[in-house]
C-alpha cells in the first residue's frame, strides 16, 4: 500500500459516520448559538417582524430571572440525589448478585434488565397508575385515598425520581457486578478469612479496586440524570404545577416550543450544553485513566 493510501483509507471508513454526525450535531449547535443572540419569537418565526441581534440580551434576561436559577438549582439537586440513590441501589445489588445462588441471580438480573429495557414512556405511565391519587395501588395499600403525589414539588420529584432510578440502576448494577467479578476471588476470600464483614470488604477492597470503574459509572449517571426529559415531561405533564417540577432540559424545550421564545430557549440550551461539556471532559479524562486508548 502506498503512503498516501495508508493515510487516506481510515478516513474513507470514517466518512459515512462523519457525514451523518457532523451536520446532525453541527447544524443544531450552530443554530442554538445563533438563535441565542437574537430576539427570536413567534412573531419572527411567522415572518411578521424582523429578527434583531440582541447580543447577550437573552443571557442577561436568563441570568436575571430567579426562575432560571431555581430550575438550575433543582436540576442539580434532583440529579445529585438520583445519582446517589442509583449508585447505592446498583452497588448493593451488585454485591448481592455475587453472593446469590444461580436462580436468584438469574431472576434478579432478568428483572433488572427488563426494567432497563422498558421504554421510559411505559415506566412513566405504570408509575403514574401506581401512584394515582384516587384509587392507585399505593394509596389503597397505605390507606391514604385521595392523597395527590403530584401536588407538592418535592413529593412529585420523589415519585419521578423513583421511576428514573427504576430505569437507571440496572446498568449501574450490571457494570459494577462485572467489575466485582473481575476482582480475583482469592482477594475477596482472604478478606473474609481475616474476619472482614461484608460492609468492610465492600469499602476497603471493592471500592478502592474498582475506583476507575466507579468514577466512570458516577459520571455517566451524572450526565444521564442531568438531562432527564421523558419522565418529567410525561409524569408532571410538561413540568408540573406552574412548572414547579421543571428541569433544565424540559425548561429549554418548553421555553422554545411552549412559549415560542426560541431565542431564550436556545440560550438555556447553550448554558446546559456548556455544563454537560465540562462533565464530559471529566468523563473523557476518567476513561483515559482506566487505560482506554483515546
Amino acid at each position: 500500500m502506498t503512503q498516501a493510501g495508508r493515510t487516506r483509507t481510515p478516513w474513507l471508513y470514517l466518512l459515512p459516520t462523519v457525514a451523518v454526525l457532523a451536520p446532525l450535531f453541527g447544524y443544531p449547535i450552530y443554530m442554538l448559538g445563533l438563535l441565542s443572540v437574537f430576539d427570536y419569537r413567534q412573531a419572527q418565526v411567522s415572518g411578521g417582524e424582523p429578527t434583531t441581534f440582541i447580543g447577550f440580551g437573552n443571557y442577561a434576561t436568563l441570568f436575571g430571572d430567579p426562575r432560571f436559577w431555581s430550575i438550575l438549582g433543582q436540576t442539580v439537586v434532583f440529579a445529585a440525589v438520583l445519582v446517589i440513590v442509583t449508585l447505592a441501589v446498583g452497588a448493593a445489588l451488585a454485591v448481592v448478585l455475587t453472593r446469590a445462588g444461580h436462580w436468584p441471580r438469574l431472576l434478579l438480573s432478568l428483572a433488572a434488565m427488563a426494567a432497563w429495557a422498558a421504554p421510559a414512556m411505559t415506566g412513566s405511565t405504570v408509575w403514574m397508575f401506581l401512584f394515582d391519587a384516587d384509587l392507585g395501588l399505593v394509596n389503597q395499600v397505605l390507606g391514604i385515598d385521595g392523597f395527590n403525589w403530584f401536588y407538592d414539588r418535592w413529593v412529585t420529584f420523589g415519585v419521578v425520581g423513583a421511576t428514573v432510578v427504576w430505569h437507571s440502576f440496572p446498568l449501574v448494577m450490571v457494570m459494577l457486578f462485572a467489575g466485582i467479578q473481575a476482582i480475583p476471588v482469592s482477594v475477596r476470600e482472604a478478606a473474609a478469612l481475616d474476619g472482614a464483614s461484608e460492609w468492610q470488604s465492600f469499602w476497603r477492597i471493592i471500592v478502592p479496586m474498582l475506583r476507575p470503574l466507579i468514577t466512570i459509572v458516577v459520571i455517566q449517571s451524572i450526565i444521564w440524570d442531568f438531562k432527564i426529559f421523558t419522565q418529567i415531561y410525561v409524569m408532571t405533564n410538561g413540568g408540573g404545577i406552574a412548572g414547579q417540577n421543571s428541569v433544565l432540559n424540559v425548561y429549554a424545550y418548553q421555553t422554545a416550543f411552549g412559549s415560542s421564545e426560541y431565542g431564550l430557549g436556545s440560550a438555556i440550551g447553550v448554558v446546559m450544553t456548556l455544563i454537560l461539556l465540562v462533565v464530559t471532559l471529566f468523563y473523557i479524562r476518567a476513561l483515559h485513566r482506566t487505560g482506554e486508548k483515546l
Partner: protein
C-alpha cells in the same frame, strides 16, 4: 438479625423492580370497570383493554409498525456505517483518531431535547415533518455514537493476527475486514444491534416533536396521547395494555440475549 435485615432489603428492591411490571401486566387483563381492583390476579380476566388499544381511531397497530420501521431502519443504517468507522478507530493508525473518539463521546452526551429545537425548524422548511426520515436521522444522533463506541471496544479485543494472516494470503485491507473480521465479530455486532434497536424503539422526544400526524406517530408517543382517545373511562387500562405491547418485544430480546446484552453494556467500561 443482620441477615434478616439484608434479606428484607433485597426483597424490597426486587419488589421495586418487579411490582411495576407485574401490576402493568395484571391490570392490562382487568375489565375497564375493575381497573382499580387490588386482587393479585384479574377476576374475571378480560381482553377489554387490548381491544381498546386496537380500537379504530387509536391507530396503535400502525404506531407499533411505525416504531418498528424507525427502529429497524435506524439500527440497520447505523450498523452499516458504524461498523466501518469502528474498524478504522480500532485497527488503523492515523492522525486525529483521538480527537474523533473524544468527539464521539462528547456528542453522545448531548441532550436530544436541545437537538430537536433547531432540527424541527430545518425539517419544517424542507417538508420533512411527519416523515420517517425526520425520526430516523435524528435517532442516529444517539444510536450511531453508541454503536461506534461499542464496536470500537469490541474490535480492539480481537487478535491482530486475524487480518495479518488474511493480508498475507493476498486479501486487501477491506477484504480482510469484510471476509475475516466481520464474521468473527458477528456476536459483538449483533449485541450492538440489539442495544441500538432498544434505545431507538424507546425514543420519545424526537418522535413527539417531529410528527403530529397520528398515522406516523410511534408507539411511545401514541401511549402518551391515549388520554384523549378513551372518552368513557380513565385510560389506565388501555395505557397498561399498550405498555405491555410496547415492552414485550424488548423483554423477549432481553430474555434471549441477556448475556450478550450485559457483555455489550459493559464493553469499554470493564477491562
Amino acid at each position: 438479625m443482620k441477615r434478616v435485615l439484608t434479606g428484607l432489603g433485597v426483597a424490597a428492591i426486587v419488589a421495586y423492580c418487579l411490582i411495576p411490571f407485574y401490576w402493568m401486566v395484571v391490570s392490562s387483563f382487568r375489565r375497564t370497570a375493575d381497573i382499580y381492583h387490588q386482587t393479585p390476579l384479574p377476576s374475571p380476566w378480560s381482553l377489554e383493554s387490548y381491544a381498546g388499544v386496537f380500537d379504530e381511531g387509536t391507530g396503535f397497530g400502525q404506531a407499533l409498525l411505525n416504531s418498528a420501521v424507525v427502529a429497524v431502519v435506524t439500527t440497520a443504517v447505523t450498523l452499516l456505517i458504524g461498523t466501518l468507522a469502528a474498524y478504522a478507530l480500532a485497527r488503523l493508525d492515523f492522525r486525529g483518531k483521538n480527537v474523533i473518539l473524544a468527539l464521539i463521546i462528547a456528542v453522545s452526551m448531548f441532550p436530544g431535547a436541545l437537538l430537536v429545537v433547531p432540527l424541527l425548524k430545518l425539517f419544517t422548511s424542507i417538508g420533512w415533518i411527519n416523515s420517517y426520515q425526520a425520526m430516523i436521522l435524528p435517532s442516529m444522533s444517539f444510536a450511531l455514537p453508541l454503536t461506534v463506541w461499542n464496536l470500537t471496544t469490541f474490535f480492539r479485543q480481537m487478535p491482530r493476527e486475524l487480518e495479518h494472516a488474511a493480508m498475507i494470503d493476498g486479501c486487501s485491507a477491506f477484504d480482510a475486514f469484510r471476509k475475516v473480521i466481520l464474521p468473527v465479530a458477528a456476536p459483538g455486532v449483533f449485541t450492538t444491534a440489539i442495544l441500538a434497536f432498544i434505545v431507538t424503539w424507546n425514543e420519545f422526544i424526537i418522535a413527539v416533536t417531529m410528527v403530529n400526524d397520528v398515522d406516523r406517530q410511534t408507539a411511545t408517543v401514541r401511549i402518551a396521547q391515549f388520554t384523549g382517545a378513551a372518552k368513557f373511562a380513565t385510560p389506565f387500562g388501555t395505557q397498561m395494555a399498550a405498555g405491555v405491547l410496547v415492552t414485550i418485544p424488548l423483554v423477549i430480546l432481553v430474555l434471549f440475549f441477556q448475556r450478550r446484552i450485559v457483555a455489550g453494556l459493559t464493553a469499554g467500561a470493564v477491562k
